[in-house]
Amino acid sequence: MSSYYLAIIGTRDNPIYELEFASFKNTTILSSPSTPNTPPPIPGKARFAPNVKELLPFIANSSLDLIEDAQFTSNQLNLGKIDTFYGISINAFITPGNIKFVLCYDGNVKEENSIRSFFNEINELYVKTLLNPFYAVNDAIISPEFDLKVKQLARKYL
């Protein structure tokens, strides 16, 4: 079960949405080898180490450099895996409006396809948010609906 950190970052390096979560899959497989001392993992709850958790915004921020670099080398919105840092991989997606989705995750996730689908669906959600006349670009997304749907997508794909 890997943990994820999703940040949607606006055009001015501002986070407009942040979420930490973990995969709901494979809980049974990974929970068995865990030592009896550690509490059983809660599905969907991120288990980043405290020092890593602290680093996540910084990692996401620093990956923006790479996204900005990569966006001119690819004609895809999904930029794929663009960076790693001490075992944390970073996948990114850039919308046509220069909004970046950054997904940091630990370990061994190789399902690029599911991440791509996840990003695509998030993009749809984001576009819907953007269609809201009361929403301005770069505003933080505080809609609980959005939050819920993102979590549902996370459960579905990751």
Binding site: G10, N14, N61, G87, A140
Partner: protein, 1344 residues
């Protein structure tokens, strides 16, 4: 200066420079500077050939160069175990520098140095500042000691010296290298702890296998599989290979690159066969360095592809992709360039073609490496080297040390970046840049390698556990990474690395907090400042609206706060209080809204403790208060006294303006701004006044304001009375007004950071009571709320007072100026951020300065409170009045005298006094009038009545006006004034006021003179007395007398008096019909009998004296002379007493309007002549009768006024002698001829024509009481009773009757039937306008 991670570092000779002979620091740095600027490399060409040398004779390769790097730090003992593996790490040469002196024994020093640095292979010394003349002679003395005159004019002098030094070096190196010839070379193992050494890379390896993300984990089983070679030959091969590799390194150092390349290739061959991966990798790396250097010096070389390709695992297909011009556009560009730079690229190809011609054949299995472009080749070589290093970790004995691995990667990255930033032309300048570690200015993307490739290399470093490396190495690695990122233009990555560096430094800073030097702190601060900019912490929401909106919308507070917290930890570890204080200030100022409550409180406590400690340490640190928008509002509190003050100018204007309010609106009239002073902004010098100020506290802790002072601008000073400052009890609404608070930065709504405004229960009993009851100067604003305070102050000068803000000291902070914040400014912000950093400002100092200067002009508008301070004003007070308790009862119309006494209680003389009155009837009347004007409900006459009541009626009158004017020119301080009044009661009056306006009028300075008023209220109740109940006008005929007798017999009234008057008239042969009778009904509503006096003063005066008993109505008759039409002009419009705008009422017909005017003027006429008064039975009360209620009707008016055209009858007998009336009628004989003479007098202004109609009617019918019993005869037509000689209807004349003319018409008739007749005449006027006129008095005829 050369770089530790320069790619050609393996070819750089390290030289340690040490001072000798008591060299001063300044001199030492100067010498070092000389060395740096003059010497970086020595060409072998310049070194004296030495054929004794077995390996390093410079003559054999004159193109080679020895690169020199000067260091001043001591030899790194940590890496000593690597010296045999990578000899370039070793410091070979020690150069002692010093100032020349005569008695110096240089050799002695050199010996000392040699024992001091045993690992070096040679020691030389340079004596600077040698007198120029002695230089040459001295230099010949000792080959190890050199002399230099220390000047820069002989540029080559130092180089010459270094040529000699390098000659010495080659000598020593030769013997040093020879010493390795018979030694079995071992892989480097840390002497102290081999386990530590391998741990990091082990973990890294584990990670790699776990993640599997590294690109170089390619299996090459075929090559690495143990061969069937004998172990012995394997050992031999290994020994040989290692020897060759080491020699290669020595050749590199000595500048003999061809030999180096050759040695490395030989080594590679041997090492590959025995699978000695560590040394293999090192040899590959050395080869790459040799290639670069050979390329750099433009020397020709050939790579044996057959040997290298298997090692590099370059297959033919891969080769094609590398060398195919179509696939690699850069290659083609190189090819096109190759004609130009023949020295660079072509030699390899041509050479290989000559020696290894058959390999060029496309059919051969081994591709030709020489066709590959240099960067690609190097990339392939280096990536193989790194993968071999990686493989070596499987072998515990020959495992790669972390530092070697990491540095190798870093060198490779450095090389890649160099190629990346180059122009792609492979010009020698590019290589020089790489070698010298310089940066090219134009960072185009023409170069080799994508950034992503370079980043992938950098990632390899992060797969290692750098934390386990020594801190020095960590710092080096992080800083070189940071500089690499900055070369690549990746500022955020750089920031991230620097942050990691800071985190890494943290524990060591704590350990060494006592030993940190200011320089180190300074550099940390510089890093921090740089990171502030990168993370956007430098935006200034407290002063710039743009920054604020920017921050509210686009920021990463979580990131920023975390970073700031890290900075605080650093500050704590290095024990830098000032730094910490500034950080706290920055956090509180810019991130309050994102900090949880306890964090805010902790920060505040931190600040307090730091300030406290600093006072103990006598550091005198101070912080400004964190919220420059503390003062949200300041309002001047009006006191009652000030309401009375009116500027003199305005006062004078008022009299006029009041009148003009009724006049119609003139849009073109220029309104002159006369009011210089706003009335509520006035205050009197030396008086205590109050300001109501609203202070905000956006923080989660309560703030204490220790001191508050009003800050002013301009000449007028104020004194803040601190003892009178107190809080106003906060109302619940104010408690919740936090939403209006301007935050230093607006709320950010990033999830998880929104701080819910916690319910503020600041009104905890203790706190609340203390703040409100306390009159001491401590003011407390509860958390997250606003609080209002009353600040007492006293103006010290006269003039305009400008309050611009407040100077307050809050909590532990220094006194500071706070402007009065008015409105927050908003700015539309830009969408895209610019990451280019022009300069790195000192963020922390900036925030402090911003707060201290309160420079918030662009963030919020501030306001100034402008007040006018005036000099002291007089005070007049009522001391005595003759009206008891201020209450009087009056009857309607009653007059009453009283007096008041006033005293001037001020030290100022009153020299202006004016009187006015007000009573409670004024306002309803005014309202009625105003509403009437709008709704048009009142006609002009009614309005005139109201206006009369307002304007003409004076309820008060000053009796002793002359006396006052004479006696009181001025009222001095303490003087009295006595005023006598007469008041007249009026219905509806219940409260009235005497208003006295007074002033100390300074004729020189009228604008600064003020009028005060004093109101003396008088409560009056008015009771009704004599009221007019009704009125009427009756015509008066000579014949009326009998009628009157009958009708009014029961009511004596003043009838007798009237009869007397009429009989008097008849006696004096006046026409009775010239008079009419005015009837007025008066009622006594008072409880006592009242005597009345009515007077009509015309040509003849008529007076009535009577008395009316309570609750009775009496009727009085007054004969009034009729009014001739030309006596009064009825066509005049009804005037307006207030100069009201005339509004034509179109609802009225013209006739109705005429009638109204006529009635108005008639009434006016009567009221003018009629007057009435009443008095009580005991003469205690007396007053006037209000006759205004009189109303006339149209009928009344026609009676009162003569017609324009008069028609009179007289009857003559046959002989034309006029007959006399007997009483009121003519007595005629029946069957006799008479002549009726009708006289028509035209009193109108135009000639008239018309028809006259005679209407004789039998009177018996008209006066008959029982019409039913009228006899048949009586019903006969008039024709049967009277015979006419002529017609009854006739045109009066052929010519129009001129104005004033008289016409007499005759009609003869015979009465044939006896009886009474009434002869009426109607004149029908046809021109100028149709009208009917009837004879005023009918003619009565009795026929007998």
């Amino acid at each position: 200066m050369s770089d530790k991670y320069n790619f050609i570092a393996p070819a750089i000779v390290k030289v340690l420079v040490v001072p000798i002979n008591n060299c001063t620091k300044a001199n030492f740095t100067r010498y070092l500077q000389l060395l740096h600027s003059n010497v970086s490399e020595v060409r072998l060409l310049d070194i004296t050939p030495n054929s004794d040398l077995s390996h390093f004779n410079p003559a054999s390769f004159p193109n080679g160069r020895i690169f020199i790097e000067f260091t001043t730090t001591t030899i790194d003992q940590e890496s000593i175990f690597l010296h045999d593996f990578e000899p370039f790490r070793k410091t070979f040469i020690v150069i002692a520098v010093g100032t020349y002196s005569e008695e110096l024994n240089a050799q002695q020093h050199l010996d000392a140095i040699k024992t001091r640095f045993p690992t070096t292979i040679m020691a030389n010394s340079i004596m600077f500042d040698t007198p120029s003349v002695q230089v040459e002679s001295l230099n010949k003395l000792n080959p190890d000691v050199f002399y230099h005159d220390g000047t820069t004019n002989k540029l080559t002098a130092l180089e010459t010296i270094f040529c000699d030094i390098c000659g010495n070096f080659l000598n020593e190196l030769d013997s040093y290298a020879s010493s390795f010839a018979n030694i079995t070379l071992r892989s480097p193992v840390s002497i102290t702890d081999s386990h530590v050494l391998t741990k990091a890379i082990n973990k890294a390896q584990k990670r790699i296998s776990l993640g599997g993300s590294t690109s170089f984990k390619v299996s090459f089983n075929g090559n690495s599989a143990p061969t069937s070679m004998e172990t012995k030959s394997k050992t031999h091969l290994r020994h040989l290979g290692r020897q060759r590799k080491l020699m290669g390194n020595f050749y590199l150092l000595s500048g003999k690159y061809h030999d180096a390349l050759q040695s490395f290739i030989e080594g590679l061959q041997a090492l590959r066969k025995c699978d000695d991966y560590l040394w293999l990798a090192s040899a590959l790396e050395g080869m790459a360095v040799s290639i670069v250097l050979l390329q750099f010096i433009g020397s020709q070389y050939t790579l044996p592809s057959q040997i290298l390709c298997p090692i590099l695992q370059v297959t033919k297909s891969k080769m094609n992709s590398l060398s195919d011009p179509t696939l690699s556009p850069r290659k083609s560009s190189i090819d096109s360039q190759s004609s130009k730079i023949t020295t660079n690229l072509s030699p390899r190809t041509s050479f290989s073609g000559a020696t290894n011609g058959f390999t060029l054949n496309s059919l051969t299995s081994t591709p030709d490496l020489n066709t590959v472009a240099l960067p690609e080749l190097l990339n392939v070589v280096m990536s193989r080297a790194l993968s071999f290093y990686d493989l070596s970790t499987n072998d515990f004995e020959d495992m790669v040390p972390d530092i070697v691995y990491v540095e190798s990667i870093l060198r490779n990255i450095r090389l890649m970046i160099g190629f990346h930033l180059s122009n792609g032309e492979m010009a020698s300048t590019d290589l020089e840049n790489i070698i010298r570690g310089k940066k090219t200015e134009s960072a185009t993307y023409q170069g080799y390698f994508y950034r992503s490739d370079i980043l992938a290399e950098i990632d390899k470093i992060f797969q290692l556990q750098l934390v386990d490396l020594p801190i020095i190495d960590q710092c080096r690695i992080y800083s070189v990474l940071a500089s690499m990122y900055s070369d690549l233009g990746m500022m955020r990555k750089r920031a991230f690395i620097l942050r990691t560096l800071l985190v890494g430094l943290l524990p060591d800073l704590e350990k060494q907090s006592s030993t940190t030097t200011p320089g180190q702190i300074q550099s940390i601060r510089e890093i921090v400042d740089f990171l502030f900019v990168l993370y956007g912490i430098n935006s200034e929401p407290e002063v710039s609206a743009e920054a604020a909106s920017f921050q509210s919308q686009s920021n990463w507070p979580a990131l920023q706060i975390q970073f700031l917290k890290l900075c605080m930890k650093i500050g704590e570890n290095i024990n830098d209080k000032e730094f910490l204080l500034k950080l706290c200030t920055l956090l509180l100022t810019r991130y309050t809204h994102n900090l949880p409550e306890d964090d805010q409180i902790r920060l505040k406590e931190k600040v307090e403790s730091l300030i406290f400690q600093s006072t103990i340490d006598k550091l005198s640190l101070s912080v400004p208060y964190w919220d420059p928008f503390m003062v949200r509002r300041a309002k001047f509190v009006n006191s009652k006294q000030r309401d009375e003050l009116i500027p003199f100018n305005e006062y004078l204007e008022n009299g006029v303006s009041q009148e003009s309010t009724d006049s119609f609106f003139d849009p073109y009239q220029k309104t002159v701004e006369v009011s210089v002073f706003e009335k509520d902004k006035l205050l009197i010098k030396d008086d205590v006044n109050h300001l109501k100020i609203t202070l905000q506290n956006p923080f989660a802790f309560e703030i204490e304001i220790n001191d508050l002072e009003i800050a002013t601008e301009g000449d007028v000073q104020v004194e803040t009375i601190k003892s009178l400052i107190r809080a106003i009890n906060p109302s619940p609404s104010q408690q919740q007004s936090l939403n209006n608070t301007i935050r230093a930065s607006s709320m950010t709504k990033v999830r998880g950071l929104t701080k819910k405004a916690s319910p503020v229960n600041s009104t905890s009993p203790n706190n609340f009571s203390s703040s409100s009851s306390q009159t001491s100067s401590v003011m407390v604003v509860p958390p997250n709320s606003t609080e209002q305070f009353l600040v007492a102050f006293r103006a010290l000068h006269v003039g305009q007072l400008k309050i611009i803000g407040f100077r307050a000291s809050i909590g532990p902070c220094k006194p500071q100026f706070f402007p009065i914040v008015d409105k927050e400014l908003y700015a539309k912000s830009v969408k895209i951020t610019d990451h280019s950093i022009s300069e790195v400002p000192n963020t922390l100092d900036k925030v402090i300065a911003n707060l201290k200067n309160a420079s918030i002009e662009s963030r919020a508008t501030t306001r100034k409170l402008v007040l006018n301070v005036i000099s002291r004003q007089p005070t007049l007070t009522l001391t005595d009045t003759s009206v008891t308790n201020g209450w009087i009862m009056l009857l309607d119309g009653e007059k009453f005298d009283f007096s008041i006494r006033l005293t001037n209680h001020s030290p100022v003389t009153i020299n202006y006094l004016s009187f006015s009155f007000w009573d409670s009837t004024i306002e309803p009347l005014n309202n009625k009038l105003n509403s009437a004007g709008v709704q048009n409900t009142l006609d002009a006459a009614e309005m005139y009545e109201i206006e009369w009541a307002l304007v003409k009626f004076k309820p008060f009158r000053i009796v002793n006006k002359d006396e006052i004017a004479e006696k009181y020119k001025t009222i001095g301080p303490g003087d009295d004034i006595e005023i006598d009044y007469e008041v007249t009661g009026r219905k509806g009056m219940d409260l009235s006021k005497i208003i006295l306006d007074y002033a100390h009028k300074n004729s020189d300075d009228i604008p600064n003179s003020f009028v005060k008023h004093i109101h003396i209220p008088l409560n009056i109740s008015v009771m009704p007395a004599i009221e007019v109940v009704g009125c009427d006008i009756l015509p008066l005929f000579a014949s009326s007398l009998q009628g009157l007798d009958v009708t009014y017999q029961h009511n004596p009234g003043n009838l007798n008096q009237v009869l007397q008057f009429i009989s008097g008239l008849i006696e004096s042969k006046k026409d009775v019909s010239d008079y009419c009778l005015f009837i007025i009904d008066l009622r006594n509503s008072w409880t006592d009998k009242l005597r009345i006096n009515l007077k009509y003063s015309d040509s003849v005066e008529f007076e009535i004296n009577d008395s009316i008993v309570p609750d009775k109505t009496s009727r009085f008759l007054i004969p009034i002379k009729r009014i001739k039409p030309n006596e009064i002009d009825f066509t005049k419009p009804i005037p307006s007493l207030r100069n009201r705008q005339f509004v034509k009422n179109y609802n009225l017909t013209e006739e109705a309007e005429k009638l109204m005017q006529k009635l108005f003027w008639l009434r006016d006429h009567i009221l003018l002549k009629l007057s009435g008064s009443w008095s009580g039975s005991d003469d205690a009360r007396h007053g006037t009768i209000d006759l205004r209620p009189l109303r006339l009707t149209a009928k009344n008016s026609s009676i009162l006024v003569y017609d324009n055209i008069l028609i009179n009858h007289s009857i003559c007998d046959e002989s034309d002698t006029p007959l006399e009336k007997q009483g009121t009628q003519y007595c005629l004989q029946a069957d006799e001829f008479y002549i009726l003479k009708t006289t028509i007098v035209n009193n109108s202004e135009s000639p008239i024509t018309g028809i006259i109609r005679h209407l004789p009617i039998p009177r018996s019918i008209t006066s008959s009481i029982h019409p039913t019993s009228v006899s048949f005869k009586a019903q006969l037509s008039i024709d049967r009773k009277i015979l006419f000689n002529g017609v009854l209807q006739n045109k009066i004349s052929d010519v129009p009757l001129q104005p004033g003319a008289k016409l007499e018409l005759e009609l003869s008739f015979v009465i044939i039937e006896r009886g009474e007749f009434e002869w009426a005449t109607v004149l029908e006027v046809l021109a100028p306008e149709s009208a009917h006129y009837v004879g005023h008095e009918p003619t009565y005829i009795m026929a007998i």
